[in-house]
């Protein structure tokens, strides 16, 4: 049987995938450009016996997710840049309490109120601990509506596996454009409380459970932090993901993620058709950043071009991965500006 295709926006694909993946709690607050997501949840979550709440504030929404996750549900929130800034306190507590959760950031222009155009200026906030404390979120960067759908199920699985918050970092282009997608079999695990023995379900037949991030006794917090660090090392070891295109013989390797990688991919194909040895590395996990692909393939005669809808944030991770062993150049625009295929080709021709 042919697989059915349906036409959706990236925002709707994330929402649909979440419900398909067994997410049964959504709390959010309206903000452009992610409003299709919250509207989809309002229309569909209760039909799937889940909970939808339009929260009074971003801060409340993320803390409702904290509670729902503590209760054992697959839970998520979504927002866009200024709203994600408000959620940082809650994300830090979720990381500190080792709760699984999905946070979707459909990034818009900043700083401040910025605008509602697509941007990639929240990379630092997503990949470094955006709130207080030594923690990381796993960060997934879809580049198509299909990946918006596919990565949402993956995000919940990773969140549950590592008991950690996972961020899907999209942008206004990806959130609002429509593409046909193929629906996968739901990756959902129908979660029962015994799958999450730490969840707060009432202490019947067991000792009382406590969900907390507070360690006041001397030495306890350091011990807990070391436990977190060990988990982050495991994630770095096992969960790096990227897509490579014509990387093996490339003299110039473009590095771009999300929507920007779509444009970079077009530029690579156009340049290849003219015989130029250009390739693309598209990080799929922004944290853990796919360092290994850079260290494995480095030779001294190649150059890198990092392209972002920001003024050089992922650039720093590429520089760290390459560690001075090759030349790294940068092309970026933000605040609504998007480097075009022509801009990229011009820059590559200068570098060749």
């Amino acid at each position: 049987m042919a697989k059915t295709k349906i036409l959706m926006t990236g925002n709707e694909a994330i929402a649909k995938a979440a419900i398909d993946a067994g997410c049964r709690f959504y709390a959010g607050y309206p903000i452009t450009p992610q409003n299709e997501l919250i509207a989809y949840m309002a229309n569909n979550m209760e039909k799937s016996a889940g909970v939808f709440i339009q929260a009074e504030a971003e801060v409340a929404a993320i803390n409702m997710v904290f509670g729902a996750s503590a209760a054992g549900a697959r839970a998520m929130t979504s927002s866009s840049s200024p709203g994600i800034s408000l959620k940082q306190e809650g994300i830090s507590y979720i990381a500190g309490a080792e709760l699984p959760a999905l946070i979707v950031n459909i990034v818009r222009g900043g700083p401040g109120l910025g605008n509602i155009a697509a941007a990639q200026s929240d990379y630092f906030q997503a990949t470094r601990s955006g709130g207080h404390g030594d923690y990381h979120c796993i960060v997934l960067a879809p580049a198509s509506v299909q990946e918006c759908y596919d990565f949402t199920g993956l995000a919940f699985n990773l969140a549950d596996k590592y008991r950690t918050p996972v961020i899907i970092l999209g942008d206004g282009l990806l959130g609002q454009m429509m593409e046909p997608i193929v629906l996968a079999k739901p990756q959902a695990l129908s979660l029962k409380s015994q799958d999450k023995p730490w969840a707060l379900t009432g202490c019947k037949g067991r000792k009382a459970n406590v969900v907390k991030s507070f360690y006041l006794k001397e030495g306890d917090l350091e011990k807990f932090n070391l436990k977190l660090q060990k988990k982050y090392q495991q994630i770095q070891l096992k969960e790096e993901r990227y897509e490579g295109l014509y990387v093996n013989d490339a003299k110039i390797v473009l590095v771009a993620y999300g929507s920007m990688a779509r444009i970079a991919k077009s530029a690579v194909k156009a340049l290849r058709s003219r015989g130029k040895k250009v390739g693309l590395i598209r990080p799929i996990t922004l944290w853990p950043f796919p360092k290994q692909v850079f260290s494995k393939r480095l030779t001294s005669n190649e150059k890198y071009l990092v392209i972002e809808m920001s003024y050089g944030q992922m650039l720093e991770d590429v520089q760290l991965a390459i560690c001075g062993r090759a030349k790294v150049e940068f092309l970026g625009r933000a605040g609504g500006g998007v480097p075009s295929e022509e801009d990229i080709m011009r820059k590559v021709n200068e570098m060749l």
């Binding site: 909970v51 801060v59 409340a60 803390n63 409702m64 839970a75 009432g202 202490c203 009382a208 406590v210």
Partner: protein, 241 residues
């Protein structure tokens, strides 16, 4: 005849509370009521930042920490996912009526079927005795060293009276811990708030006036007298809704 037993819901440990503090009493009353209602195995408590943030070390049932002010958002998530469980928050005045005012008003307005135990001691205890939204006029604290002035710092916030305006709120009573009679009334109010939840009545809040001798600069005995003679004038006891 049994005259004393240790509540099953209360761990047999010493608390970190100061001498004469009301928290230990309030913890115990809640534990006794939970035992009496036979709901220990269904309870999920939320203790946000404040003196009682480690209440989970004292209560022997499932507990969640919450960030400062966020208890009712966390409780909303817990209760909506597990409507069959009994969810209550235990919040101080700074938590419930300052940094968490938004969460408080909107959880109440949604009529969340949870119980709220609101400890009003007119001061921030955990951080060392700063002015709270409920600090009385002329009351000296480390951040109102000359005494709270209405002109500079506004009036004590009567959040219970404010919440009573909301249709989603089903029960609000203000009680006190300053005498044995009032302690018994407090226990009755705690029971009412939990029974309401069991029966699906809706949002219930018990405001408990509670002594903080350390940051009031009074002896435990004088603290009880201060509640009786001064605090109650600003925060009158009784059923508000």
């Amino acid at each position: 005849m049994k005259i004393y037993s240790h509540p099953k819901s209360l761990r047999n440990v010493s608390t970190h509370y100061c001498p004469g503090c009301g928290h230990s009493l309030a913890h115990r009353l809640i534990a006794e009521v939970i035992d009496e209602l036979g709901i220990r195995e269904k309870v999920i408590a939320v203790a946000p930042v404040g003196c009682a943030v480690i209440a989970y070390d004292y209560w022997d049932f499932d507990c969640s920490e919450a960030a400062h002010g966020r208890a009712l958002a966390v409780a909303t998530g817990l209760k909506r996912v597990r409507p069959q469980n009994i969810v209550f928050t235990y919040q101080g005045d700074g938590d419930l009526a300052a940094i968490g005012t938004n969460e408080t008003i909107h959880a109440a307005n949604r009529g969340e079927n949870v119980s709220v135990f609101f400890i009003n001691n007119a001061v921030y205890g955990m951080t060392g005795g700063q002015m709270a939204p409920t600090t009385l006029l002329n009351q000296k604290t480390s951040t109102s060293p000359l005494g709270r002035s209405a002109a500079a710092q506004g009036y004590p916030l009567k959040i219970s009276e404010m919440l009573a305006l909301l249709p989603g709120v089903k029960y609000i009573e203000r009680v006190s811990l300053h005498s044995p009679q009032e302690i018994m009334k407090t226990k009755k109010a705690i029971r009412q708030a939990l029974v309401n939840q069991i029966e699906g009545v809706g949002f219930s809040l018990v405001e408990i006036l509670s002594p903080c001798p350390t940051y009031w600069g009074l002896s435990p005995r004088d603290s009880m007298a201060w509640i009786k003679n001064t605090m109650i004038k600003e925060f009158p006891l009784g059923i508000i809704k």
